[in-house]
Symmetry: C2
Subunit: 308 residues, 2 copies
Amino acid sequence: MRLVVALGGNALLRRAQAPTAAHQLANVRKAATQLARLAGEHDLLLTHGNGPQVGLLALQAAAYTAIEPYPLDVLGAESEGMLGYLLEQELANRMPAARAVATLITRVEVDADDPAFQAPSKPIGPVYSREQADAVAARHGWTMAADGPGWRRVVPSPRPLRVPGLPVIRGLLERGTLVIAAGGGGIPVVTAQGEGWRGLQGAEAVIDKDLCSALLAIELQADCLLIATDVDAVYLDWGLPAQRRLDTVSADELSRITFAPGSMAPKVEAAIAFVKAMKRRAVIGSLDRIDDMLTGRAGTEVRPDDPQ
Amino acid sequence: MRLVVALGGNALLRRAQAPTAAHQLANVRKAATQLARLAGEHDLLLTHGNGPQVGLLALQAAAYTAIEPYPLDVLGAESEGMLGYLLEQELANRMPAARAVATLITRVEVDADDPAFQAPSKPIGPVYSREQADAVAARHGWTMAADGPGWRRVVPSPRPLRVPGLPVIRGLLERGTLVIAAGGGGIPVVTAQGEGWRGLQGAEAVIDKDLCSALLAIELQADCLLIATDVDAVYLDWGLPAQRRLDTVSADELSRITFAPGSMAPKVEAAIAFVKAMKRRAVIGSLDRIDDMLTGRAGTEVRPDDPQ
């Protein structure tokens, strides 16, 4: 089978841990142990989030005040290098030497007119006091929003439309290469042109990695989209006394349920998009049970709608 | 022809400029304009340095003191993402849309017993006072060395031995993909093993990008190795009144000349290694004239030794 596995960035740098290299390597090793078993039996495209990682890069950039912070497309590219390297190495260390693994730096085109650019919503980087927030907003032209007791920069999260590197990803998968790509949802780029060139340029944005993974899974005609996170399934009324787990649900049923914005809503949206387009299953669940997710023994299975 | 082009990191962030994203993008665009012409006519593997870029990442990491700085393998991977993304995008913007471009995160194996690990020599990151240098050395276990009036961390630069991703690079080149790989000389890794795995792990080191490029050019049986830098040729007695340019030189002749350690010595060593192994030409010269370097109208041509 051809699988697309979307790995949560929070699984690689956990909120309760300091974002050190040692913690990250330990988490990557745990993830790789789970994923290597799956990769041993299937063609696999691995995508991953980068929220905590790009957050760390933004903190470091903010701390080094000698130059203007680098833009988000470049920070995203850095995070693809960092996490792609660690994942490739630890996966390769757990698979037969003959199995090729490739990590691709991946750009993803978004629409320069996407309404998200007018409504930045994703917090990133340091927490500021109100006065500091006003100062950095004036200096860098950033949009700031209240976040708990402080203020943070918020950035747009436009919809992924197209992956320029798709033919390369497809070609590698067809030859049995395990591919790591579109880390962090991909590097956001928009159509542009300048003197002597015409094509794409970076955008100050981030892309949701689950939506990008669904786009890739559809374009690559994947047999299953597995969204690996740190909860074991999708829950109704999450956090309330009445919370209950969804074992299996049709895309239509799931699309009638409203989830609070945050981590689960884009996963659900991505799963529905894949299942509706491909008439194949998507599964949302815990990385610890990724094998069982594929065989229907763990996670929430989102299945095609029942025939009318 | 199949070409390997090694692009100097200093061409992308120049010493005389602040290391801003805007300067780097402008320099990448200039480089891409030169390289796109070459890529239009030949199969091309592009490698690049990362000295100024990894230096910037080290400065940012040093400024953010909340956590221990990330190790050099991870910083190298970040720099591969950053520069690979920019180069891929600007090259793709200047070539026909049908030509595929792929940027690979690339590990390069070095020997854990390489003598360089006992004699760190490459300065990186902030300049410290003597007292600060003693403090960071004690805190992080770093080796420090005098650098002008201050002190800096010095790190090992072991020899590149093997590129685990070579089959992927070769496969992409064979299908006409322009490949960007082994940025910064590649991410240094050494053989290791742990609980449940056996393979490679990161090393606190940097790798010379010219030596790594020669290794790749030999393994890929390239027709020519082009080393693009910011001087127009190799000079004898550089900087002295008697300085003179080498237009063409045999590998044997060149190997009898001593160059001061620094930027030119590894370029000369890399060119000699390629020419001796392949009996084909290498050219060292200025990026501005990369087409002319290939046709023998610019740069220093290092040619195979004359038949005995």
